[in-house]
Subunit: 247 residues, 2 copies
DNA sequence: CGCTTGATTGATGCCATTCAACATGGGTGG
DNA sequence: CCACCCATGTTGAATGGCATCAATCAAGCG
């Protein structure tokens, strides 16, 4: 139930941090999808002056649940998890973010959940106060942020149905289909999961053993194939869809 | 598992709908807390021209999951639930909204979840297209909406921890404390729950029988007292806090 | 190689669900 | 007003799914 807490280290504004170079945004991989997409060139340059690039290693935690909200960021590359925990160490992953997603809590004093890198990652990091001020003055940015937050809320509420009402088999099937949609398989049709069994368990609200058993059972039925520790091939997606709905 | 579907009727833009009277906002109970709070008097009048008042009876459904998003609204009075369901009829309540809250999906084509009145309710209803247009032109409104959506997202994610990781006892204790904070007790300290056992079960992701058993057990321990069907008195909140954390 | 970490598999027990019977109480009509 | 009814809530007993505890297996690595 405990999550590699030993591995997690405070991302102490690492030495890899450097001011976002002025025309850096021109080459930014996510500039057309991130919340800064609708800004004019001048405004984007102004925003980039506030931020700086930060590199994270897998396992590093950028923000801690309950801490003061001091920074927000765009994810340029990599995958991160958002999580909350009970006092006695049970963890629930409340979101997984990918390139072009936005993290942190703007317009608020407290960080509501921890943010931890699942893979190595690169962020475009902003001090919250400066970002808030900029956002207030730029409707386009605020509108993008609103759109994204509304989408996040919809997805999060959908996930509540899974957590509250679905059985382990349905949870795992739903998860696999979700990953299949999000991650492109290689030429053999194998998806490389960015998550350990423990992390999958923490997303689905079950234990690591149950995840493993469900995987094995699905493999035995020929619905999926397991390739190494993190590889999965979805052999019978139609069957998987049925299982996800509890049929 | 089925939710009074017989009772639910389409709120067919009922005859009680009437244009929001021009200076109606001046007397509106929620004008200082709803998203229109920061608008100038002129802007608020302009917004009120778009909207109209609607009265709902308990059990009526205003929006259906998956339908086109055609309207949004402020809640003026009453309590409503947001819910999603699986194909086979299992329901999960994903949010409960109160006076001054905002409902519906602005800036999107699909309504992600159904909205149903738990008590009689009054809404200030806007056609989505007109509302979206107004919001785009009024940063203050959009900012308020963003703030509210961010808060909703925080609360929703917190609730995921309960759904995914808490045991039935902890869920019920957490729920009771939450209601205690939100609803003012009468002079005897009794809270009148706006929810049936089935609805409580649908919020917590458990069955109606489990809710009932947990209530009875808490009553037997002297932590709460039950008054009629919907009355609860929180006798020992400290104990309840411990139980909510799994101690 | 041993050691560590992550994943799988097995055995057991418990808690929540399920199925079922029963209680309560609010509302209605005779 | 009371008897009746139906929806809602409570309680009981049995089942089973998932968690827990624990052992084994499989990789990666110094």
């Amino acid at each position: 139930m405990d999550m590699q807490i030993d591995m997690a280290q405070k991302a102490a504004l690492p030495s890899s941090a450097r001011p976002c170079p002025r025309q850096g945004c021109d080459r930014c991989d996510v500039r057309t999808r991130a919340i800064c997409a609708d800004l004019s060139d001048d405004d984007r340059i102004a925003l980039s002056r506030i931020g700086r690039r930060v590199t994270l290693h897998a396992g590093q935690t950028v923000m801690w649940e309950g801490d003061d909200s001091t920074v927000v960021a765009n994810v340029i590359e990599g995958t991160l998890k958002l999580a909350t925990s009970t006092g006695d160490g049970r963890e629930q992953i409340v979101g997984v973010v990918y390139a072009s997603d936005f993290i942190g809590r703007p317009f608020g004093v407290r960080t509501p959940h921890s943010v931890t890198a699942l893979t190595d990652a690169r962020l475009c990091l902003f001090p919250r106060g400066a970002f808030d001020g900029f956002a207030r003055d730029h409707g386009a940015l605020q509108h993008r942020l609103l759109q994204r937050t509304l989408d996040d809320l919809d997805r999060t509420r959908d996930w509540m149905l899974l957590l509250g009402r679905k059985a382990a088999r349905e949870k795992v099937a739903t998860f696999l289909l979700d990953m299949g949609r999000r991650l492109r398989p290689d030429r053999d049709g194998v998806i490389d999961l960015p998550l350990s069994r423990q992390q999958i368990a923490d997303i689905l609200g079950i234990t690591i053993e149950t995840v493993s058993r469900q995987f094995s059972e699905l493999k035995r039925q020929g619905v999926i194939a397991l390739v190494g520790r993190r590889g999965v091939r979805l052999v019978d997606t139609a069957m998987l869809e049925d299982l996800a709905e509890g049929i």
